[in-house]
Subunit: 498 residues, 2 copies
């Protein structure tokens, strides 16, 4: 163990943003002083104009600093995290997620991908099968594959995993495929990629089945605080109720965690600062039963050990300065940012395409408002031209998260219309479209990427008949979004020969 | 991917120490202005008196900043590390370790425990056996055990792994135990726990055997820059040649890495900033063939992803400010610190005990100067009393690292002298002594902790007959060291009934 005198940091410091840096609602354009002022606040970002306060973490210890010094933070530390991190994560999970069992613990990890990877290694033996949503976060599967974990995909609807499909899959499990799955990996909020939000009623139904079949639930919830108002077309949009909430009613308005109904300690919840502070801090935590926490601590000790002390001390110094109350205020501000981005994105889609809304009654979007996008006539001269009235893609405006999950209407592709089959060596239609779009300058994530049908039997979607894209609205500027959506339209027209 | 506008750090800053903060030699006490001045410089540490310069990493990008901004560092980044980290690690490995094959790469990890854990997962299947030193770093075995990796311990001598023992173990491998080991885990410098330093001649012998039997060498080398002058008793100590070295001759004086003779790309070298900057930065890198680097990148993507961006950017900003030349100067300074600590520790041992030096010709210390410690007579009245002339423990002053590995002379324990056998349920003599010492207030690491004989067949040392302690001299103050060594003496007297 090195001596702290040879740690070359005398201190670290930061200018940190104030917790109320972002407004609590997106003003209607008409109400704003300038029609573009709120857009500017969200998209016209200028880092030189941030309002900040200064914080310092000194090397030297001082009484009552709770270990918030570099002599501690830069030394080897417990795999449970620095004292400040342990205290913060426990307080936050208590306040926000309210576990229904008494002796839960929190334990740090370096982000939820790492958190899930640790859980998979802790809970599974080679040859085991985990339960996952039929469309899921690809890295979760990539973490499991090298340790020979198979996947049992369960059908989704507009709220998330379907209880009937889950029960059927467990009840009819074929023991020749190994022991019945005992782990479920789920992204219940801002479901990746579908953007669905699982409410408490659905969680109860899923939880009860997991009790019946003794399934451990790993709840990967990075988008928890990006729960948004339902999307409304621009003309029908009213003032959000968000602005008049206080911290308490904000937290109460969020769909509860599985933890809130977990009376048995079978939920391992993964939280991360990646979407609420920054991905680069590589810091998150698990909330779980002590049995799991102890094993996760051992995994931590033999891999990363305590997460980076510079990262932990700066993030915890930020939280100390803000207080938990300030952090909740910050979370309210950033969800407005992402809500406004989602609205701007879909508003622009509705300008470029002709959108029709309907309530979907079956399939992955059952119970949701589905928007079907048609190409707009090229000019008023051809306004009545029937052939352009083709449904090109469909989507459900996400109620949480950072992505829109779009379903391409491949049935309308010329090849499909002719009844032709693509050659075996050719790219799937989904990937043909993805490639054309990427060559046009727009990078989306192709649907196959998210398919949980990764088992060797080759079951799963036919990407010549079922094509998806996951498009992110979280990062681009307004100009880039507009440009991207126009390229998307042009590529769709070429692809569908509209 | 979140938008950088919602990253709450406007910048991070640090006051960093100057690269020449520590002197290049430990002046003899007689030469110093005050007899204690050099000790004060090393042990009388006062963090408020550090000489520093100020560095800033802003959020905003600017031209030519090489990605050294928080907009980049706090975003998701490549599992190969930030651009600055990639550049630094490649330049440093090139300058210092000089790999003998052309297309090597560097890839980050979060410290060498993580680095080895990744290598084990990359290279081994369940049931495989790895080669390790008979005494080794316990976490390395703890990382391997859960993936069902067995260990083949190889005997050590005063330089490290014995070539004859390695060849014999590989040539006579019993295939009924699974495939012949194809991975060697080694800590060649500051061997943990023995403190041995493997020179280039020995490395060549080991490498050639690894070529013959197709063994991949994982070289875990955290103590590489803590290579010290040979210990000399205080009276015989002369001015170190270290002070007159320049950076180049310093680097040339260090025992070369396995990489320097690796013409085949079969060495994966693990480097860490833990011992040279601080453990809490959780940053290190592998230098290896591109085949391995690619797989390690995939493992990184599905676990920690890029190491903490606050850590990476602050460490790399430090290196930018210092330059590699400054960092090498820093390394020269800190090895003097640890050398002086080792000297102070052994000097104090020689005051409390009566030490005798002999050259050892066989066993784990073959070829080294071994010091045997006897209890000093309690007072001059009993100076000639024969019964106190008991050899209590032996050690070799380490030539690198942070530890002294002490062998307890259990043959002199009253139980052994009586020829009695301890009860089966009792603690081993080693652990009895360890417990007494810990209860006295001195925490050492017991020998069994480092034994590579962890296989189910129960082979390996009998800790009633062979007892060790690893004592660290890297962290305690002079007062604590003196006090600890006195407690050690008192506990030894009680234990050996002297």
């Amino acid at each position: 163990m090195p001596h702290e005198s040879v740690f070359p940091f005398h201190n670290v410091q930061a200018d940190i943003l104030l917790p109320d840096s972002f407004p609590l609602s997106s003003p209607r354009e008409s109400e704003a002083a300038s029609p573009l002022s709120w857009l500017w606040r969200i998209f016209g970002y200028d880092p030189t104009k941030e309002k900040t306060t200064h914080v310092v973490v000194p090397k030297a210890r001082s009484e009552g600093d709770g270990g918030m010094n570099l002599a501690t933070a830069l030394q080897y530390g417990p795999a449970t995290g620095m004292a400040a991190t342990q205290k913060f994560t426990a307080s936050f999970s208590e306040l926000v997620f309210k576990p229904a069992f008494a002796d839960w613990k929190t334990i740090v990890q370096t982000g939820n991908t790492d958190g899930w990877s640790r859980c998979a290694r802790m809970l599974c033996n080679p040859g085991d099968t985990i339960i996952a949503e039929e469309w899921t976060y690809p890295s979760a599967l990539a973490s499991a594959a090298p340790i020979h974990i198979n996947v049992l995909p369960i059908a989704l609807d507009g709220i998330g995993i379907r209880p009937d499909a889950l029960r059927e899959a467990l009840a009819n499990w074929d023991e020749s495929k190994g022991r019945r799955p005992h782990i479920m990996y789920t992204v219940p909020i801002g479901q990746n990629p579908s953007g669905a939000t699982m409410d408490i009623q659905r969680k109860k139904e899923i939880y009860d089945i997991c009790v019946e079949y003794d399934v451990i639930i790993v709840e990967d919830d990075p988008y928890y605080f990006l729960q948004m108002d339902e999307y409304a077309p621009k003309a029908a949009r009213t003032e959000s109720a968000q602005a008049s909430q206080d911290n308490e009613s904000f937290l109460a308005s969020l769909a509860p965690s599985f933890l809130a109904i977990d009376t048995q300690g079978r939920v391992i919840r993964l939280d991360t600062f990646s979407k609420t502070v920054a991905p680069g801090v590589r810091l998150g935590w698990c909330t779980c039963a002590p049995l799991f926490a102890e094993r996760l601590e051992r995994i931590g000790e033999t891999s990363t050990q305590s997460p980076c002390g510079l990262g932990q001390s700066l993030v915890m110094r930020l939280m100390q300065e803000w207080t938990i109350d300030g952090y909740v205020r910050w979370l309210r501000g950033i969800r407005v940012q992402y809500g406004a981005r989602r609205d701007f994105f879909i508003d622009t889609v509705s300008e470029v395409f002709s959108l029709e809304r309907r309530v979907c009654t079956q399939g992955v979007w059952a119970g949701s408002d589905v928007y079907t996008a048609y190409a707009r006539p090229r000019s008023s001269m051809f306004m009545s031209e029937k052939s352009t009235r083709k449904a090109l893609f469909e989507f459900v405006p996400p109620s949480s998260g950072m992505f829109v999950w779009m379903k391409l209407n491949l049935a309308e592709h010329p090849l499909r219309l002719r009844g032709a089959e693509p050659g075996e060596d050719e790219l799937s239609l989904e990937m043909q479209f993805w490639t054309q779009l990427a060559e046009g300058g727009v990078l989306a994530a192709p649907g196959w990427f998210f398919s949980a049908y990764v088992n060797e039997d080759g079951s799963g979607p036919d990407f010549d008949r079922e094509g998806h894209l996951r498009i992110s609205f979280s990062n681009a500027s307004t100009e880039e979004m507009r440009k991207g959506i126009k390229i998307f339209e042009k590529t769709l027209r070429e692809f569908f020969a509209v």
